[in-house]
């Protein structure tokens, strides 16, 4: 079972790095989109920092951000499927 523990630890470490990078990237894309939206006008006269801040707070609670946790779920799903297909099919 040591080999499994090793795989879990290394996998968790790698996936956490991927999750962090993906989260930061997604948030910066969201920030860019909010700034572009403000520049195009029609945002009720709020100034840019408040508009972007409010938009980011909405983003923080959104489904899209929670979906990034799929980075953990998908490899576990693939490995489980491989184990089932190789050993039990």
């Amino acid at each position: 079972m040591f080999a499994l523990a090793r795989l879990v630890v290394v996998g968790f470490f790698v996936l956490t790095i991927v999750y962090i990078c993906l989260s930061l990237y997604s948030r910066s894309v969201r920030r860019d989109k909010l700034e572009t939206e403000w520049r195009e006008g029609g945002t009720e006269g709020a100034n840019i920092e408040e508009f972007v801040q409010k938009g980011l707070e909405e983003y923080d609670g959104s489904l899209r951000r929670k979906l990034i946790l799929g980075v953990y779920v998908i490899p576990i799903g693939i490995v489980s499927f491989i184990i089932y297909a190789t050993n039990f099919m």
Binding site: M1, A3, L4, R6, L7, V79, I82, I83, T86, N87, F88
Partner: protein, 156 residues
């Protein structure tokens, strides 16, 4: 100078291609003639052997390895090993080696009354280094001319 760059890239892609050729699964149609176990001492070719059955000790320099002897549908012989890959590399997560050996034993046949099987395997057979492909699964088929589409290889 251009030759060096060209040689480097060719070598690089040859290595990448051979890595994938070794690791991705291939299918052979064969007739299993015998299954046996042999003690192997790992020497220079130890890179091409997998690990002990999961749950057993991993520190031995020799251990018993299952083999499956076959005659391919093109009349060449081929010998496969049958080892756990466990949680390690390549990521086949193969734990059912002993079960597979039992299935292979059950499908033994003689030339007069052949029982054809499709063996999914990875790895290479190299007589000079005594390395064998690792059989991952066996499946009985009626006709040695089955058409097999390597879905995983294509998508990957």
């Amino acid at each position: 100078m251009g030759y060096i760059k060209w040689t480097f890239w060719i070598t690089f892609w040859v290595l990448v291609a051979s890595f994938f050729h070794y690791t991705l699964p291939q299918h052979d149609v064969a007739r299993i003639t015998d299954t046996y176990e042999k003690r192997i001492d790992f020497g220079e070719n130890s890179l091409f052997w997998a690990s002990a059955d999961t749950g057993n000790a991993v520190t031995s320099v020799n251990r018993d390895v299952f083999f499956i002897q076959t005659r391919l549908s093109n009349d060449n012989v081929m010998v496969y090993r049958n080892e756990d890959t466990g949680w390690g590399w390549p990521p086949y997560f193969k734990f059912d080696t002993t079960n597979l050996q039992a299935e292979a034993s059950d499908l033994k046949s003689v030339a007069e009354t052949p029982q054809w099987v499709v063996i999914k395997h990875y790895g290479w057979r190299n007589e000079f280094m005594s390395i064998f492909p690792n059989a991952v699964s066996v499946r009985a088929v009626d006709d040695p001319n089955v058409r097999m589409i390597p879905w995983l290889n294509i998508t990957f």
